[in-house]
Amino acid sequence: MSDDKTVSEPDTSGSTLTKDTTADGDVLLKVTGLQKHFPIRKGLLQRQTGAVRAVDGIDFEVRKGETLGVVGESGCGKSTMGRLITRLLEPTGGTVEFEGKDITHLGTSDLRPMRRDVQMIFQDPYSSLNPRHTIGTIVSAPFRLQGVQPEGGVKKEVQRLLSVVGLNPEHYNRYPHEFSGGQRQRIGIARALALNPKLVVADEPVSALDVSIQAQVVNLLDDLQDELGLTYVIIAHDLSVVRHVSDRIAVMYLGKIVELADRDKLYKSPMHPYSKALLSAVPIPDPKRRGVKSERILLKGDVPSPIAPPSGCRFHTRCWKATEICKTTEPPLVELRAGQRVACHHPENFEDQQPQDTTLLSSAKEVAADNGAAAPVEK
């Protein structure tokens, strides 16, 4: 953070301090009851007949200097969430506060100052870079758009950024097609870093890359966080990558956060049955484990449609612990253990929240039977 040129906020002095005091450090981004419903229109008059409830009421906060990982299956709303907090989409409900300022419904011009502080890294390094622009033009675009004149000129600054992300600064005049996937992703990162953002939202930053390149980019993101004191929200479906990069992790299912916990707590003792199933499904690269009876929980079928999500707890149609109450009452996201918030009536690795309700639903019995002893049913 050596070159805060135009920023007048007092945070410039504090930015180095916050790195050490992140434990319950300041909240950078606060999201309350966030909703995004995409309307479905039909007929001649384009009357709205329904809505895809992509994000349906989520609360969380991102603290300065931390990395929040967001995981979930495709269609769970994690990418929409990323676009809402960067305000590439306008929420249909709830609020988004960035540094205490409500940005939920700001217009384009009011958003501009905030755009400088919140940047995004996209998944596909092939479609997120304009093929007709040189790398220099691409990386310097933020300066042009924000009217910022960096010290020593734009070109010098762009070259500095290129070397920060491990690219040759002399490639300033090359075009995106001359670079490999990993290098393109670095270009996207350089662009995101151009204006010294406070928050970087990365949507599947490494999933399009080869394994060996993935590791390079993950390490790069790590180093940049250490050097620049960045705050990350990393959206990914790969649970091993998320564990590697995150401090806290939110697990999403059908537009809701079902568990929000510190990394180690989530991976050591997941409380929501969905988190447990998700973790157990990750293949372990150790052939010796194959003979051992696997603890894998096989979920049946697919994620239900977000147009008409199941009543009560949305996971009850696939859960092996679901009882009547799961069908009728939606469990709130509550902090059951320090640093672990869960929305479940019958959490794993913790005392039952609804012990009076013990009759399993028939669907739950099926799942439990399929998994045999793997998912023991507590009675």
């Binding site: 495709s74 390490n219 790590d222 649970l239 690269p285 150790d286 052939p287 079928g301």
Partner: protein, 360 residues
Amino acid sequence: MSKLDKAALGEPDTTAPSAPDDAFLSVRDLRIHFDTDDGLVKSVDGVSFDVRKGKTLGIVGESGSGKSVTSLGVMGLHRSARAKVTGEVWLDGQELIAADPDEVRRLRGRKMAMIFQDPLSAMHPYYTVGQQIVEAYRVHHDVSKKAARQRAVEMLDRVGIPEPAKRVDGYPHEFSGGMRQRAMIAMALVNNPELLIADEPTTALDVTVQAQILDLIRDLQKEFGSAVIMITHDLGVVAEMADDLLVMYGGRCVERGPAEDVFSEPRHPYTWGLLGSMPRLDREETDRLIPIKGAPPSLINLPSGCAFNPRCPYADIPKDNVTRTVRPELTEVGGSHWAACHMTQEQRERIWTEEIAPKL
């Protein structure tokens, strides 16, 4: 083939495994080269392996390492004027490279079948799933449409599609990703193939669905006793599925052996690199991943000597710059475990146990 081509192809791979009589598929020194405007692309440059019935061979490598081209070569799907395919592919005692294309076509779909990565582009959007399965069945079996449809419903049921009698009339776009992949597996298995090639069958899927599909492939293999080739870049998936492992780099095999040995005692720096690049859930959280530096090479202009030498941190250990001038051949490093590296066995054993393994 001109003399020049023969010279470019080099000597046949002398380190090919001796063909066990019970191998259902034997590939010997397979080379697949494409002539392009930019030069000759040596996508596959001398690969040999065997797969026995009831066993699974995992092929791993990065994009452009030649793993998919190898599998398409086995299926006989490179017959264009630009592709030059040499070597031998023995399927159940029958050689396929020199065979008549019509003969190979009769085998394809019946004796060997393939599951592709992206079912949306591998299935025809205009026909119902049922029609496509029926066609695949009737090409090889002289049965009535009704009987074939019955068979299609049966297969859809077998791969776990709910209400198969109804879904058989659905179009591919009406299926979810996981269901589509199941439908494609049903189509591949409709003729009970004895060799099944799965090219990144779960890469486009979520982990929970991936677990379902892998389970399904395993069950079906047990039931039909087929030989399976599993192509993937995910070491977790191969560890779970494969009995044997083939690691490819730059169109060649750099390490080959029983999966357990390759994972527990890898003997090639590239395999070490792959293992180090991967965050693992079954290990304590590490501070940093150990990436492989650089990027995979271009197949037009492979580095001389060992193709991995520009990225290998140990390239200078063998004397006389041999890594940059001489291409290492596969040598046996243990019971049917082969690796192509210039370092001596002792050097590699020491580096693995002292430097690499503790960091994983």
